[in-house]
Symmetry: C2
Subunit: 563 residues, 2 copies
């Protein structure tokens, strides 16, 4: 996302404070919300956010939740801001930021450090190991980012441009540590303009020639628009490229619905041995697999390494390079390759898949809940303009094979797979684009990790519709073991439907449903609710969706000799 004009760049002559400069410069990246938890070392940064007319403070229940929310926000808006305090705060957030690094989501993580004054004289201070040492946590947090800096008034302007450019180049987090006294100091101006990552023209031409040569020679081509396409907001560009090429495209679990599943060139979800036979043949039999954005072939997306893919047939268009076999052409941006591909003149008619359509809704209203009935009901419930946030576990394994209506957006954290992610991510996603309705689909085990930010949804008017599947424990774990009854898969027996009221969401619609008819009614009320809605779905302890049942049989292949 190109930088907008910021007060920061125009006002450095007036000597804004370092804190004000940082917040204003990041606001120019299109960020209007800041997720975080306050703390004394970070007060100057918090004050800059609270004083800014451009950025709103979104206080979360804790820092990990704030990081997840920022990740969700960044997936929609291209970038997000996360503010935490030194040591205790940043380390609480580190798993969320690391997940953003793994899944290519751009979080600017700003941390307030003890003052340079106190660092210089090695004061023994709270939020430290009590040793007068201040560098240890910077090293840890920096590991969860693709770039980092400890800011002072003189390096601030240059470092911010470097960090913003590098973070966009990789679409990964940047870590920005600011000593509390420096944060209040006037920023020293510097003559530096925003650095926008662009392709090298020669490299781009070389890459396009190589791609065209491979594609023109191929008898069959299949495209996979990777999750990074959505992270960079390039879904339409990817679609145009695929339409110009006329080839079929598939998605893995990581990029479901990044292009509508009703698109005539859609050839299904690819997941190794659990793919439909036709989809599998299209992918594994293709002369060229055009990987747009760098698809991640991990144990989840390949259904326990059950794929038969020949990587020598891949053309991988990364964020910043193109790889064909062992040849790497660097300094080529994904967006530019997509634009060039959209000019492709194909010689034959485009691929046309058979329209798959939604699965029919099944079961009688008086029937008890089953997974066979639940997932088609979700599909029937969803509509264009909805953004669905899927929690890792049986929820994502149940939903990803389910064909969804056009115009539905799906977000999930498939590779990093940190349970608990989806609830706060839904908060961030809802605030990032209130014109869409955000739907959270989670199991209750994962929900317990981060449910305390249901309160923030209510406080900040994020009218999320929450579905919590209550099947008495971690179903995905029961399914992945020989003995499903280990006590560590049991949970504290929450009364989930009472939670929103306890957390201050007093005007939410809430329901606890045990039959299909109750679910149907609750879905109608949830859709009608102007505020949020929360539906607890009671289900069988071992009732699992088909993909999970398949995984159950693949334990050996999935983890090597043993789990």
């Amino acid at each position: 996302m190109p930088a907008r004009q910021s007060d920061a760049s125009s006002k450095t002559a007036k000597a804004m404070s370092v804190a004000d400069y940082i917040i204003d410069r990041l606001a120019a990246e299109g960020i209007e919300h800041c997720f975080g938890v306050a703390g004394d070392y970070v007060f100057p940064i918090c004050n800059a956010v609270d004083s800014s007319p451009k950025v709103k403070w979104i206080g979360c229940a804790n820092e990990l939740n704030a990081a997840y929310a920022a990740d969700g926000y960044a997936r929609i808006r291209g970038a997000a801001m996360l503010v935490t305090t030194y040591g205790v705060g940043e380390l609480s957030a580190i798993n969320g930021v690391m997940g953003a690094k793994a899944e290519r989501s751009l979080i600017f993580h700003i941390v307030g450090m003890p003052s340079y004054q106190n660092q210089r004289v090695h004061k023994i201070a709270h939020h430290t190991l009590g040793d007068g040492v201040f560098g240890n946590f910077v090293a840890l947090s920096a590991d969860a980012a693709c770039c980092h800096a400890v800011i002072n008034p003189e390096n601030c302007v240059v470092e911010m441009e470097r960090l913003i450019a590098e973070a966009h180049r990789n679409n990964q987090p940047a870590y920005i540590a600011v000593p509390s006294d420096y944060a209040l100091s006037p920023v020293v101006s510097a003559d530096v303009k925003p650095i926008v990552p662009r392709s090298n023209e020669t490299a781009l031409k070389k890459a396009m020639a190589a791609i065209a040569e491979r594609i023109n020679k191929a008898k069959s081509v299949v495209a996979i628009p990777a999750a990074t396409v959505s992270r960079l907001g390039l879904q339409k560009q990817a679609q145009k490229a695929i339409e110009a090429l006329g080839c079929p495209f598939v998605t893995t679990l990581m990029e479901k619905c990044s292009i509508d599943e009703g698109h005539p060139q859609f050839a299904g979800m690819y997941a190794g041995a659990v793919s439909e036979p036709n989809t599998r043949q299209i992918v594994e039999g293709a002369d060229v697999v055009l990987d747009l954005g760098g698809v991640n072939l991990n144990d989840i997306t390949t259904a326990a390494y059950s794929d038969h893919l020949d990587l020598s047939r891949f053309i991988t268009v990364g964020l910043d390079d193109v790889r064909i076999g062992d040849e790497v052409i660097a300094n080529v941006r994904l967006a530019d390759v997509l634009s060039e591909l959209a000019k492709f003149k194909r010689s034959s008619a485009p691929y046309r898949g058979k329209p798959q359509g939604l699965a029919p809704v099944n079961g009688d209203p008086s029937d008890k809940m089953t997974m066979a009935a639940l997932y088609p009901r979700y599909a029937a419930f969803l509509r264009a303009g909805d953004t669905v946030v899927l929690e890792t576990g049986s929820s994502s394994l149940g939903m990803t094979p389910t064909i969804l209506p056009d115009g539905v957006r799906v977000e999930a954290q498939v590779l990093w797979g940190s349970i608990g992610w989806a609830t706060p991510a839904a908060l961030g996603i809802a605030l990032a684009d209130p014109s869409r309705r955000t739907i959270l689909i989670t199991g209750e085990g994962s929900h317990q990790l981060t449910a305390n930010d249901i309160g923030a949804m209510g406080r900040f008017g994020a009218n999320v519709i929450v579905f919590v599947l209550n099947n008495s424990g971690y179903l995905v774990e029961r399914a992945l073991e020989e003995n499903p009854n280990w006590t560590y898969n049991d949970l504290a027996p929450w009364n989930y439907a009472e939670l929103p009221k306890a957390l201050g969401c007093t005007d939410w619609f809430t329901a606890r449903v045990t039959t299909l008819g109750e679910l149907d009614e609750a879905m109608k009320s949830a859709r009608a609710s102007k505020s949020g809605a929360y539906i607890e779905i009671m289900a069988g302890k071992m009732d699992m969706p088909p993909a999970l049942a398949f995984a159950h049989g693949q334990l050996q292949a999935m983890y090597g000799a043993t789990p």
Copy 2:
């Protein structure tokens, strides 16, 4: 704590699995509970816990909570066990483990890694950055420990003894990473006995001679039993040493009540300029400050560096050394020094402080809540056999200057000061010693971070009495700033008293009180409750205890030039 006989050491000939060996060996350290969150890479470890007749699995809502609970447990039992999964789990826990490192609490943190098989061939796997690299998170988690190892069947027995010894030597966390296939392999036996850290006899004699020389020459001596005394379970030994010496002793915020405040030699709480004048004179005027365990003189314990202490007058008895001025005598254990000090023959009558007694309970039953009335009521409510867990913030700043009855134990995380710690820590503390009643005193802002483990309290029968002070935001932060009304100090408006029921604690006593009389009644009911109790106390937004009001005036000194 010396190792008890374990099945592990006697049964290695039978080739237990690595996972069973690790759990059994740690059980021999007196650990009967394992806090954690399951995950597939750590299944073999979880299974070993669930199969063990010696250790009970305590599933927490999330990993940070589990780490805090383990920290609390370790403070009572000497050591604790924490189990998390690779990457997502261990990183979620890292702040809690780092806090245990800072505060000298011994957590054995066991993490299940992807199988050696898959690591060896660089498989792309979930819970990684998708890069086939498996070492990055080990380096991060190891930083939160004082020692670590990646376990295999051959190094397991030796490494476990090394880790246990080193963790006890420092009373800090040990990090134990176990690839999932190795966890199931038979352990290879090794001829190694438990290594128990002991003093070097010569060094101990030298240290005692140096200490005696300094003390005998001194006109005045004051002792400070540091927080480490409690962490190592040496409270009685420290008390005997102090009684033999006959000198006055003081405590800082970090070691409140480690020796009864009714002890005749107790001379008050020392906190720099906010100490009672007599206490301050005793400490700052002493010829020798006998620091038993290594007191941490940070901004909190010195009330914003307002102390006037001459460190050249300190005798610091560390966990493993004695320091007098610049002379360090190493290989001397705190326990041994305390035993030797207990043999001291004093030449004069012991110090006798004036008994301070509890502050009188004030206010009428119909009065609205005030901090002036609340803290004396807590003191009157508490009794011998209670363990009070204080949350960082106004709760700890209000409670620490309040004299408490003899036999009350206090735990707080003063140096690391990670808000949210106290709620799960209370879970761990309650399970560590059910013969005592655990009382949690927290503000609602801190409580929001980790309140989801109130559910685990109910599930595992931890009958904690929870007091939640609801004063509409982070009071400690409002107090530490010129503008108390920044929006980042506001919170989602939870209905706290409804929370236990929503989290499954259906048989708890719950109340929401606004007057002193309501609090008195609720306290009686809470004390009578056989299960847990939860009291939400409604208080004024800016009504703060005196120590916090003092800190408000000390911002300049506390953070250098600026906060």
